[in-house]
């Protein structure tokens, strides 16, 4: 939206910045507290009034984490898991989203509603039958066993369908067809470039959700060698003598890669916007 002739220091602008800054502080505060705890001894967790300034145990607490669990190994497992899941989900969702948005085929609406239904069953109940399937398939203690469930992502299809139907003009597709392109070529050359911002959005959502998920990964990965980061961190929390400094240090460092990934995806997001939108 172009702003022509708006004063630089109008009230509305000040209010806007104030609102955003408050929102940011509100959002980031617990993360900051986590960082503070990661730099302090365990007793600081219980202190009244709460400790709010960083201490000097950043490295020490992290060393304790490294002693207790295979931090980098499990983080690598998480990276592999989340990357593959994200790529596959982006691929599956954009294909299906494209189909639902731009093609006509009988039963289209019924199938779309069926997808809605898959979202509604709570995961907690499906746990035992899902575990049974994966166990019988011999996929316990494997990343593949974990992945399969995450490939099923209805949100991805909704988002892609919506984005594609709104931002990919039918005329462009028509033009490509006249030029003799197959549907897949249209997908690759017309649709994909336009939906990159949606890819960035969905990508970061899927990556983060998979990274932070616990229950299913804990259920399937029982062998400590195959642990992903959340499961490994949870095993820090099971002693009588909970070392909060160590625990929060592990949690803190486990979150940093996500922030990095977010920044990367964000760059992609912004880059594709500034590249300009649809040009015929």
């Amino acid at each position: 939206m172009k702003q022509v002739g708006v004063k630089r220091f109008s009230f509305s602008r000040i209010f806007m910045y104030l609102f955003l800054t408050l929102a940011s502080l509100f959002s980031i505060f617990p993360f900051y507290w986590m960082f503070v705890m990661a730099t302090r001894p365990s007793a600081a967790y219980n202190s009244i009034p709460p400790t709010l300034t960083p201490g000097n145990m950043l490295v020490e607490n992290f060393k304790k984490v490294l002693n207790q669990i295979d931090f980098f190994g499990s983080m690598w497992n998480s990276v592999v898991l989340c990357t593959i899941v994200t790529v596959v989900v982006l691929f599956i969702s954009s294909l299906a989203g494209f189909a639902f948005a731009k093609f006509k085929f009988p039963g289209k609406n019924a199938l779309f509603i069926a997808i809605l239904v898959t979202m509604i069953i709570p995961p907690q109940l499906g746990l035992i039958p899902q575990y049974l399937i994966i166990a019988k398939a011999g996929l316990l203690d494997t990343l593949q066993g974990v992945m399969i469930l995450f490939f099923l992502n209805p949100l991805g299809i909704f988002l892609m369908r919506q984005y594609i139907s709104e931002s990919v003009p039918d005329e462009l597709i028509e033009a490509a067809k006249i030029d003799g392109a197959t549907n897949f070529k249209i997908y690759r050359k017309v649709v994909l470039p336009i939906i990159l911002p949606a890819f960035a959005t969905l990508g970061i959502i899927v990556f983060t959700a998979t990274w932070g998920e616990f229950l299913w990964q804990f259920t399937v990965l029982r062998d400590p060698e195959m642990y992903t980061i959340q499961v490994a961190l949870a095993s820090l929390n099971n002693t009588f003598k909970v070392d909060f400094g160590m625990l929060l240090s592990g949690v803190f460092w486990a979150t940093i890669p996500l922030v990095i990934i977010f920044l990367l995806f964000n760059k992609l997001f912004i880059a594709s916007i500034t590249e300009g939108s649809v040009k015929s």
Binding site: P30, F105, P106, I133, G212
Partner: protein
């Protein structure tokens, strides 16, 4: 390699596409589109058939049985449903879930739009910073969130939350066990955690609106407000509907936040028990899988009803618009 199994859909897809292009000369465009349509949605449905369908059918079957996880199942017809629907704790959990949905989830949609539109302004400085920080809660691990919120909302007089309400002259609240204290604390936790998520979905939606439309409107002399009303809102409506739907489902399926906040009391006290917590308690604490499955089915019906109501409320005239556009 077992993993090869997941590559099969991609292989079939490529083959299918090749076949389709070979037959191009003989098939009409409609046929081509139809084949592509089915092909492109097949990866999702194949996976659904493998890991989605069986659990769904199993759960529906279980709802009519009595099963403790070990012994053989016993057919009991509709009695599980009767047990659940006459249980005051179930209705309390429905009430809790709806209240926390109204306080914790609904505000996200409004604040999310505001935040997204602010973040979308071209002139905004520090965009990157704001984007990252507002998304931080979604990225912060549940373990940390639980620890932070249980300290902030601890029952002690000196907890942050009690300190703040003390400034307004109120007595300290027992956040962990009081009727409204728990709901408010958990609602704030849910809001905090998910508002960023909805914001970036709205942001994506805003980005999908071509700049050309705004340029043309400015040239035509439309004010900023008019542009908001006639370009942004209608084109954002589908995204709003999307978030209304996913938020409704998410709110009705609320489980993680109350569970980690309440800790040991999660499945025993009733102040903040949600429907899914009730279900989980049946399954994993009382070994009563039949009633848990019946609860899941009742919840499904509830979601369909409430989601439909929410969507109708939100869409208003949009349905007519969409009808025209399609």
């Amino acid at each position: 390699m077992v993993f090869a199994k997941t590559l099969y859909p991609i292989v079939y897809l490529k083959r299918g596409v090749k076949m389709a292009s070979l037959k191009r000369k003989h098939l009409s465009e409609e046929k081509k589109d139809m084949i592509s349509g089915y092909l492109y949605i097949s990866p999702f449905f194949i996976i659904f058939l493998i890991v989605g369908l069986f659990p769904a059918i199993f759960s529906m079957y279980l709802a009519f049985q009595k099963w403790n996880g070990f012994s053989p199942m016993e057919f009991v017809g509709l009695s599980n449903f009767k047990v659940v629907l006459t249980d005051p704790l179930f209705w309390k959990s429905v009430y809790n879930t709806i209240i926390m949905g109204i306080f914790g989830t609904a505000p996200q949609l409004i604040v999310g739009i505001i935040l997204a539109s602010l973040l979308n302004q071209a002139f905004l400085r520090f965009k990157q910073f704001y984007r990252v920080t507002i998304f931080m809660p979604y990225v912060t691990s549940m373990v940390a969130v639980a620890l932070v919120f249980s300290v902030l909302f601890s029952n002690q007089e000196t907890s942050m939350a009690n300190y703040i309400i003390g400034l307004f002259g109120m007595d300290p609240i027992n956040w962990g066990t009081s009727e409204w204290g728990t709901k408010i604390a958990i609602s704030i936790m849910v809001f905090w955690r998910w508002v960023g998520y909805n914001t970036i979905i709205y942001l994506a939606g805003l980005q999908s609106i071509s700049n050309d439309l705004y340029e043309a409107a400015t040239i035509d002399g439309a004010s900023k407000f008019q542009q908001l009303r006639f370009i942004t809102m209608p084109l954002l409506k589908p995204f709003i509907l999307l978030t209304v739907f996913t938020s409704t489902v998410g709110a009705l399926q609320l489980f993680s936040e109350p569970t980690v906040f309440l800790g040991n009391n999660a499945f025993t006290r009733n102040e903040a028990m949600t429907i899914v917590m009730y279900l989980y308690r049946d399954a994993f604490r009382l070994q009563s899988f039949g009633t848990a499955s019946a609860t899941a089915i009742i919840l499904m019906v509830l979601i369909v009803i409430i989601a439909t109501i929410n969507l109708l409320l939100t869409s208003g005239t949009s349905l007519r618009e969409r009808g025209e556009r399609k």
